[in-house]
Amino acid sequence: MMEKKISVLIVEDQAMPAELFAHFVKTSDRYELVSCIDSASYAEVYCLAGKVDLILMDVVTAGGSNGILEAEKIKKKYPRIKIIIVTSMPEYSFLSRAKEAGVEGFWYKEVGKTPILEVMDRVSEGEKVYPEDSPETKIGLADSHEFTSRELQILREVTGGYSNQEIAEKMGISPNVVRNHIATMLEKTGFRSRTQLAVRARESGLVILDRSDDEL
């Protein structure tokens, strides 16, 4: 009796990687493609009919939907569905948030040392597959790993255009602490202003402000 193929849903808003994933799935004996969609907000609908076994979920998807938040919802309602987060953004918190959401795998598109099919195979067999760390990226004179987690939290808020006072209130710390962390980051990167720092950090994908969190 032929082993039932694992049904895969691809959630990816960029054409090239989506096509690549779809190609891998279609040419594999083990997997079959349910659908390829560009917004994480529709992922749950496909899960309703019980036809999905594995989801390759991008983080930043069309319409501003956050793949990790949707993955968390799906894991709560459909715990048997396995999810692999795929992203090209080195945003440092994605890895920890994905683990907290309970997803089974995490894969960096451009620098993943393990091929995606291998990750899918291992996850399908019940393993949890995570990289050791997020990819290193250069921000000015500094490497992304030179920033502390607190600095990165503050840097994310700076990219949202928030003032020191607003950041301090959001994070429950003093504005002076915020100011000092920003000064330290400017020193590390060699940038002249927080604007330069914010623009470069956002462009590199090192920090991404969660819009759903922000709007609410």
Partner: protein, 427 residues
């Protein structure tokens, strides 16, 4: 030797000493009165004048005539030893001189009402003390200057002055703030902040009005306001940049893909031209055909991508799980309204399959003047009770309200979600 027995030169000396001590005594008295020294010192001053003066008077009294009190006192004085009288005269002189020095020292070390008024007038702030009914008790020059500019006259009625300031009434000046702490800009560019305080003095109420020059802090605050406004605008642009960066990245990738296609097509055309001009064999032509098929397929996949958002994606998802979407009326599917409606339809679709176990979702739009009403219903089981808004419906409500719309949920007799949204004046 008594005074009578003394020679004329000695008598003259005594009289001069007494005259000088009387003179200095009067000077000490005058200085004491001017400096407002304590009363007991004034008495001493008076004594240091009266005693020598009286003695001089007695020494010039003719004792040979009359037997009155004056004559008797003069006789007694004449009978006193000369040395004693001289010592007494010099003592009085010393007393008077001490009095003068004391009064001068006192005046220099104590404030007089004049010095208080002088320093009061020198204050950079305007100050006025007034009684409860507005009568000014003490006003400095600065306050009078300010009153002249605001009221057209020096301060005559403090209550009226304060009322006008509080209400922001008056011509020729800029009332920047009225109320309990009025702020006024004068013609010379200076800005004054006014305050009023109540004091109790000897059982009566006294009001103190103070006008403080806050020109520099005011200008700084204006500058700060402008900088804050600029910062807010900049922060907004930074936020928009962050939101759009994904779009920019996608556009960049699409452009790169287009450039790639352009280059590859160019190479392919060159190869084709070469092969055709070489008149290659069948095998060569088949190979060329395969290359064209392969590359066009690859370009096709580059050009296509996952399906677009909104209703297209929704319909695809609904189809995959066996649910039909039925539209009635002109349902907007694009723009901001389209986004909101597709989110609402997604929410209804999820709830339809999870709870209502239906397979048809109806979306009906009714256009009214300036707004559109959209009704979402289904063919599933009716709700067992009142629907409680969970995370999905709450987020939807927030989205609808941000878009200027209203969301209603009906649980009976069947489920119905109604969205009323502004449609930009269209009917």
């Amino acid at each position: 030797m008594s005074y009578l027995d003394a020679g004329s030169a000695l008598k003259t000396l005594l009289q001069i000493a007494l005259a000088f001590s009387a003179l200095f005594g009067i000077a000490a008295l005058f200085l004491g009165a001017m400096g407002r020294v304590r009363l007991r010192f004034l008495w001493l001053g008076l004594a240091s004048f009266l005693l020598p003066f009286s003695a001089l008077l007695l020494l010039h009294t003719d004792v040979s005539e009359g037997e009155g009190l004056l004559s008797f006192a003069a006789q007694s004085l004449y009978g006193l030893p000369y040395g004693l009288l001289l010592a007494f005269a010099f003592l009085l002189l010393l007393l008077a001189l001490s009095g003068i020095f004391f009064c001068v020292g006192y005046i220099h070390s104590h404030l007089s009402p004049m010095s208080v008024k002088e320093s009061f007038d020198d204050l950079p702030s305007g100050v006025c003390f007034a009684s409860e009914d507005g009568v000014p008790l003490l006003t400095n020059s600065k306050m009078n200057e300010i009153s002249l500019e605001i009221m057209g006259a020096t301060l005559r009625d403090a209550s009226c002055f304060w009322d006008e300031l509080s209400k922001g009434e008056g011509d020729g000046v800029a009332f920047l703030r009225s109320g309990d702490s009025p702020l006024v800009g004068l013609k010379d560019g200076k800005v004054y902040s006014f305050s009023r305080h109540e004091h109790r003095l000897r059982g009566e109420t006294v009001y103190e009005i103070v006008a403080s020059d806050v020109s520099e802090p005011y200008l700084l605050s204006l500058d700060l306001e402008k900088k804050n406004a600029d910062l807010k605008e900049f922060a907004k642009r930074l936020r928009e940049h962050g939101e759009k960066i994904d779009e920019y990245t996608a556009e960049k990738e699409t452009l790169e893909a287009k450039l790639y296609i352009h280059d590859e097509l160019g190479k392919l055309l060159l190869l084709t031209s070469k092969r055709l001009s070489e008149d290659s064999d069948e095998e060569g032509k088949e190979e060329l055909l395969r290359i064209w098929e392969h590359d066009l397929k690859a370009f096709g996949s580059t050009a296509e991508g996952p399906s677009s958002r909104g209703f297209e994606e929704l319909e695809k998802a609904a189809f995959s799980i066996g649910v039909s979407l039925i539209y009635e009326g002109d349902v907007p599917k694009s723009g901001r309204i389209g986004e909101i409606l597709s989110r609402a339809a997604l929410e209804c679709l999820t709830n339809l399959v999870s709870h209502a176990k239906g397979d048809e979702l109806s979306v009906k739009a009714e256009a009214e003047k300036g707004r559109i009403r959209v009704f979402f219903t289904n063919n599933g089981l009716p709700p067992s009770g009142e629907i409680k808004e969970g995370g999905g419906l709450s987020s939807l409500r927030l989205l609808v309200e941000r878009g200027g719309g209203v969301m209603e949920i009906k649980s009976a007799p069947r489920f119905c979600l109604i969205l009323t949204l502004p449609n930009g004046g269209k009917a």
